[in-house]
Symmetry: C2
Subunit: 137 residues, 2 copies
């Protein structure tokens, strides 16, 4: 039988717990850019007793370890992305969904300095009305 132990946790110095495994599994390959709330709701199905603190704590640790990243695009809540490679996002102001944009806008991704400031993160955010919401007038 295939070993499904998520070695990622061990690698970043975290204890392997069922809750963390579930959160990691939910995130892996997830392209919805979930919020803490949506992660909590989903995980609750399998772990009815999980607490919000565990979700937030785990997300913080994963961000620290560089396994996931946080987006600054939803004005109402934190949103998370398991894909840490740089890419553009589109936020729908009607439904709140976030879409990956694969088009290359030739961003200054390697810039390390500007106006004397040290640049660590570069984010291009687009906002408007998504494909789906445009249909429903």
């Amino acid at each position: 039988m295939k070993d499904t132990t998520p070695i990622q946790l061990k690698e970043i110095g975290l204890k392997i717990t069922p809750q963390r495994q579930a959160i990691l599994k939910l995130l892996k390959g997830n392209e919805t850019h979930p919020s803490a709330e949506s992660i909590y709701s989903e995980i609750s199905k399998k772990f009815p007793g999980i607490s919000f603190a565990t979700v937030y704590n785990t997300l913080s640790k994963l961000i620290e370890a560089g396994e996931i990243r946080e987006l600054d695009i939803d004005p109402n809540k934190r949103r998370f992305d398991p894909c840490v490679a740089p890419h553009t996002h589109f936020y729908c102001q009607a439904c709140g969904n976030i879409f990956d944009i694969s088009h290359d806008f030739h961003l200054p991704l390697t810039i390390k300095r500007i106006d004397g400031h040290q640049v660590d993160v570069v984010q291009l955010n687009l906002k408007g009305v998504c494909k789906n919401c445009r249909k429903i007038p």
Copy 2:
């Protein structure tokens, strides 16, 4: 004596009140990208009785009218910018200050559609450690 009446309010269909005049005056030319809290604190000096609701209400009206805009860059609070012309921002993760970046990154400012989505806003956000915070190790 010079007329200092802010005609902007009348123009956008809002009643001229001392509170609104003060908020508008504080915003005009302000490059600090203030939060509701910082606006409230500052205005309170002249209007000790002003309420947070007035600050938020006024900001909402001004955004609606396109007189100011809101940034999605500070993960903790809403930040406002009286300059509505498109420009890049830098957020310091150490001190929370936001700086305007005048360098032209050739953003797709005229794009109206991508992947079927209707694009209304384009924001380029840089984050890291600002000039001032780098000095204090």
